[in-house]
Symmetry: C2
Subunit: 456 residues, 2 copies
């Protein structure tokens, strides 16, 4: 461990993820001095681009933005990071309910009734979500009713056919990264409302959440942001204790660093924020909230081929399956590079089950899935890499905090409300596209502006 | 903060609750040297007797043992702590489903059908619980089915009348200290099986969990236990970091104390165990488990009167109500003292809602409840005290860790399994009377014996 050091600032910020760095930039723009304490040896938090071969990078973390992510488009523009559209030509490949592998057109014909059922439920979700105030979901007129059942129980009560129910589960787990039995139905409706409508949340094209990627990789965003505030970031400094009073804070890191400030912004996920020792201790309500907001379970696995052979066969690289370890996939090729890159998602139970296996076994199971959908060429990738987020000490799960039954209505008020000189950021506290990069920016700005307003 | 100090031991134990001290005693008996690091300025953890006036004490924490708590009877005997039976003469007072206040006999006549419904459901719960292996609930033949719904959802599906459903909720919240919508049905069945049958769990007499109290207060148990190992306990030492390797552990406390040992036993609730920084970091499965085991919400409020006037009116001091802030009460007089002491329980939503109020408002609401049941004399207590556990920094909720849907089947294996030189205790990891003092003793002994076995 390094020798004790100390640093003084106006605002101490815990976490150099997107939310924390946006907060720091906002504080700096107001003429105040921030210091960002990052536990890891890098910035970016849940954003992590990995270069895997010349010209090819993969996104182990956040990857896309969508058309309504105005803050992120503005940020990318300011930072000079260019964007490109997600590849979306050709058909999706399906294997659901024992159908065997079917091309999109075949699937839509065979399961037209089930898709109509799904559509009906999504419309119903949109109607109900419209009644959830994103600033205070617990004030929804039917909040008490919606918060005592899980999303899964509500789904089970819709009289859906097995295939429609499975499709609904896959769509939802793709957003929440936990099985629907683990989250409150109110939280599902909040998630929908925070993003707009189900069509935006679940779609990958035409106005959805995943239309656009960043040239050079998503990590260009935190990398360039960090460059603007580089004198104000300290890496390898896990915060363990926050002493606070009306006069300010003294923040202690493992390794001995002590940071002093007038305010602190805790810009990490609520479950990690709950691990810090606060002196004096926080209220029971705030503490019990952080006991009840577990992060989800998500893995991304990438196969790199010499070419995107599925495109020539008329596939868009997306699969939807209830057979193999991956429920969904995406074409994640890099424009201007000839390699074919395909991403498989392991979310919820799949992340937990296959995440525990040795990488070779996991890779073999995923390869088999790809071969079934895209043929023998899928068996011989040039490269494979995957990334599990719950094993990463300074993240401990993706994509975000999930509210189980009864959490929003009982503890929701404590999620983002400042406590004295302590403010809270991270996308988990956002009201628009919470759980996305867009929400991280919103939360960082909101917390920073509140801090600036509170200082004489 | 005090100066850095250091201590060497064979076994470092985190937490001087009952489980940690039992572990220390067991380690010591095997000829090894323990050191117990306690965050608080006292031993006892969730046991806390408070002397409120000469001759009168109240139990803000654990209070009773039951006839099948063999380890606790043996421990009390060894320590020379005598026991006395819970007062149980007279009638319970009811106010449920808009009935107004009714004496037990009236209530049983008016609601005979509803009580028969309740009895039928309890028998059904006993039948189902018998299939849950307490060492590994996730291996129950129907574990997957039972773990995807909440206990509340299962209750809702039993076709119960409103009064029977309410009684069932009150009984269950009295055990779990969270609303039934927050816990997995499998966890409820585990809880029943770990204790025997519902009759033992829910009853206060004749073989139930709450038949017997300790002369001098429950704190006599930890106090005398601490006296036996007093050289091995360090108070005011919150553990923040555990460095571990095959060679042993280096445990860092706030304030600078460093304890070195060959093994560590973490004898605090799982949610608090998850707040320690482990180096190297623990697996994602263990970490995500501790994100998903929130402590319950429980308060106890005591009124002390010049005499137990309710006894003269033929009441046993128990009330069951769905009207006021307290759903249940108990006569908690001290034998040999003339005062009347009554205990009101606020559990789950009641603890959360009324726990946030100023004490005067809470006391007024509780007083009104007592007056409705026991008459005007209840309005003029000599003394009032209550205790909330989620506000206590080193406990953060009672009675124990609650498994929401999907936790047992997904993460259960990580609850008590040692990780290298790290072992886990606390009643939350027990298999017999988990959540009770009896379970704390079992878990402490089990962890200590495993540690002793593992040392050359």
């Amino acid at each position: 461990m390094s020798q004790p050091r100390s640093v003084d600032a106006d605002v101490v910020i815990v976490g150099a993820g997107l939310s924390g760095m946006i907060a720091a930039r906002t504080v700096l723009a107001a003429g105040l001095v921030p210091v960002v304490l990052e536990a890891d040896d890098r910035v970016g938090g849940r954003i992590l681009t990995e270069d895997v071969m010349p010209g090819v990078s993969v996104e182990l973390g956040a990857q896309w933005i969508g058309d309504t992510h105005a803050r992120m488009f503005r940020l990318a523009d300011e930072l000079g990071v260019e964007t490109f559209p997600q590849y979306d030509e050709g058909e999706t490949s399906y294997d659901l309910g024992g159908s065997g592998v079917l091309r999109e057109n075949e699937f839509h014909t065979r399961f037209a009734d089930e898709l109509a059922e799904l559509e009906r439920v999504l419309r119903r979700l949109d109607e109900l979500a419209a009644d959830v105030p994103v600033e205070a979901p617990w004030l929804a007129p039917r909040a008490d009713e919606w918060d005592v059942i899980s999303a899964g129980t509500w789904y089970d009560n819709q009289g859906l056919s097995p295939v429609a129910r499975t499709l609904l589960e896959i769509c939802t787990v793709g957003i929440l990264a936990v099985p629907t039995v683990e989250v409150s139905f109110l939280h599902l409706l909040f998630t929908i409302q925070t993003c707009g409508v189900t069509a935006e949340l679940f779609a990958e094209s035409e106005g959805g959440a995943q239309t656009t990627r960043f040239v050079g990789g998503t990590s260009e965003i935190p990398r360039r942001l960090a460059a603007l505030i580089t004198d104000h970031i300290v890496l390898d400094s896990p915060v363990q204790t926050i002493e606070h009073s009306t006069d300010g804070v003294v923040v202690h890191c493992r390794g001995g660093l002590v940071a002093r400030g007038r305010r602190v912004i805790v810009a990490i996920s609520p479950t990690l924020a709950g691990r810090i020792l606060y002196d004096p201790p926080l209220s029971g309500i705030r503490d019990q909230l952080t006991q009840r907001l577990p992060n989800g379970s998500a893995m991304k696995a990438f196969f790199v081929y010499d070419e995107p052979f599925w495109r020539a066969d008329g596939f868009n690289g997306q699969l939807i399956s209830d057979v193999g370890p991956a429920r969904m996939s995406n074409d994640t090729c890099i424009p201007g590079d000839d390699h074919g890159v395909i991403l498989l998602f392991l979310e919820g139970d799949q992340a937990r089950t296959f995440g525990r296996l040795p990488v070779d076994e996991r890779r073999a199971a995923l390869t088999a899935e790809l071969v079934r959908h895209y043929g023998a060429k899928a068996a011989t990738p040039e490269f494979y890499v995957d990334g599990e987020w719950s094993d990463r000490q300074w993240t401990r799960g993706c994509y975000n905090a999930n509210h189980g039954p009864h959490v929003w209505t009982t503890y929701g008020e404590a999620l983002a409300a400042p406590i004295g000189v302590i403010h809270w950021a991270s996308t988990d506290t956002a009201t628009h596209w919470s759980a996305y990069m867009e929400g991280a920016v919103e939360a960082g700005e909101r917390a920073a502006l509140a801090v600036v307003d509170s200082l004489p």
